[in-house]
Symmetry: C2
Subunit: 190 residues, 2 copies
DNA sequence: ACCTGAACACCGTTCAAGT
DNA sequence: ACCTGAACACCGTTCAAGT
C-alpha cells in the first residue's frame, strides 16, 4: 500500500524476509493460513514475486521447518543416555509448540536442513560415546527420531478415543512418551 | 455424459460409491488426485452433490483411511509377542502400499473408524494375555502404534541423507523397523 | 431427500513484459 | 535480476432452486 510499484521497481525482497513472514502467518493463522498468496500479501508484493527467491511452496515450507529447529541447543551433559534423553525431550516440547507442523516433520523426518543435520550429528556423537557406532547407530537414531516425532504427532492430533476415559492430558502423553523412550534407550544402550 | 440430469432427478449416489471412487482416484493419481471435484467428475455428478452423503472432505478421507485398514486380519497365533509382532508387521506392509496416506494415518493415528478400533481391541487382548493391562496396556499400545506408523512414514518419505551412503533399500528399513519393534516389545513384555 | 446451477473466496504456478 | 499484470487450471463449500 502507499506508492504502488510499477514493473521493474524493486521491493527489497529477501529469502529471509519470506521465511519470517511465513513463520508469522503460521503462528497467527495456522497451517491453512500459510499460502504463497498470503505471504505475498503480507510483504505487499505480487504473489509471483516470491518465485524469484523460492523455488516452490514445498521448498519454502522445508526452510520454515528447519528454521524452527534452530531453537534447540545441544545438551550440556556428557552421559550419553542423559544427553539423548534431554535432547529428544526438548525436541518433543518444541514440536508441541507447533502442532500444525508436526505431520510435516514426520513426512519429511525433519532432516532436510542444516539444523536437522546438526542435531543428528550431536546425537550420533552421544551414541558413539555410549559404544554404539556405524550401522547400528544409524538404526538407533532412526528409532529415536521416529518415536519422538511420532509421539508428538499423537499428542498434537489425538484420535477420538471411543467410550473410554476422557481426553488425555498433556502430562499423561508426555509421561507416555518418556516411558517409550526409556524402553528404546534400554534396547539401544542396555 | 449421456442424458444430462436436470435438478431433481436422482443419480443413485451412495456413501459407498463415493468412498470407492475416492480410493480409485487415490491409487491412480495419488493424494493430490483426490479432490471432491475429481470424485464428483468420476461419478458424473455435480461437485456439491457429494455433500448430501458426506459432511466434508476431511470426513471422506477418514472413511477412506479406515476402509483400507479393513484388509488386515487378526493374527492366528496365540503367543502375545508373536501376535503383536505379526499384526504390526502386516500393518507396516499395508501402509507401505499407500505411501501418500501414511502422513494422514499419523496425523489421525488411524484410530477414527471401526476397523482401527477392531485392531486396537485385538492388540489389547494380546497385551492382556501377556500380563499387561489397564493404564500400562494403553501406554504400550500407543508406543507400538507410533513406532509402526512412524517407521512407515520414514520408509515412504525418506529424507535426503547428506553425503553418506546411497538410498536406503526397503529391506533395510524393514529390518530397522523390526529391530526397534523388538526393543519396544522387550520393554513391554520383558 | 437428493440433485443441479451458479457463485464465493480462494489456491500454486507460469508467461510475457517492464526496468 | 527482480518485480508486476494477467492468466491458467484448479480448489472446498454454500446457497437457492428444482422434483
Amino acid at each position: 500500500v502507499g506508492a504502488p510499484r510499477t514493473p521493474g521497481s524493486r521491493a527489497g525482497l529477501t529469502r529471509d524476509a519470506i521465511v519470517s513472514a511465513a513463520r508469522e502467518l503460521l503462528t497467527e493463522d495456522g497451517l491453512q493460513g500459510l499460502s504463497m498468496r498470503a505471504v505475498a500479501r503480507r510483504l505487499d508484493v505480487a504473489p509471483n514475486a516470491l518465485y524469484s527467491h523460492v523455488d516452490s511452496k514445498a521448498a519454502l515450507v522445508d526452510e520454515v521447518l528447519d528454521d524452527i529447529l534452530g531453537a534447540l541447543d545441544e545438551p550440556e551433559v556428557t552421559d550419553p543416555r542423559a544427553a539423548l534423553r534431554r535432547l529428544l525431550m526438548s525436541t518433543y516440547d518444541l514440536l508441541l509448540q507447533h502442532p500444525d507442523l508436526v505431520p510435516l516433520y514426520l513426512a519429511r523426518q525433519g532432516a532436510r536442513g542444516p539444523n536437522a543435520r546438526r542435531l543428528g550429528d550431536v546425537m550420533t556423537e552421544s551414541l558413539a560415546r555410549g559404544g554404539v557406532e556405524g550401522r547400528r547407530a544409524v538404526e538407533a537414531l532412526r528409532v529415536l527420531i521416529v518415536h519422538t516425532i511420532g509421539f508428538a504427532a499423537f499428542a498434537t492430533h489425538p484420535p477420538v478415543e471411543p467410550g473410554a476415559a476422557g481426553p488425555l492430558t498433556a502430562a499423561e502423553l508426555r509421561a507416555n512418551f518418556e516411558t517409550g523412550l526409556e524402553w528404546v534407550l534400554v534396547g539401544i544402550l542396555g
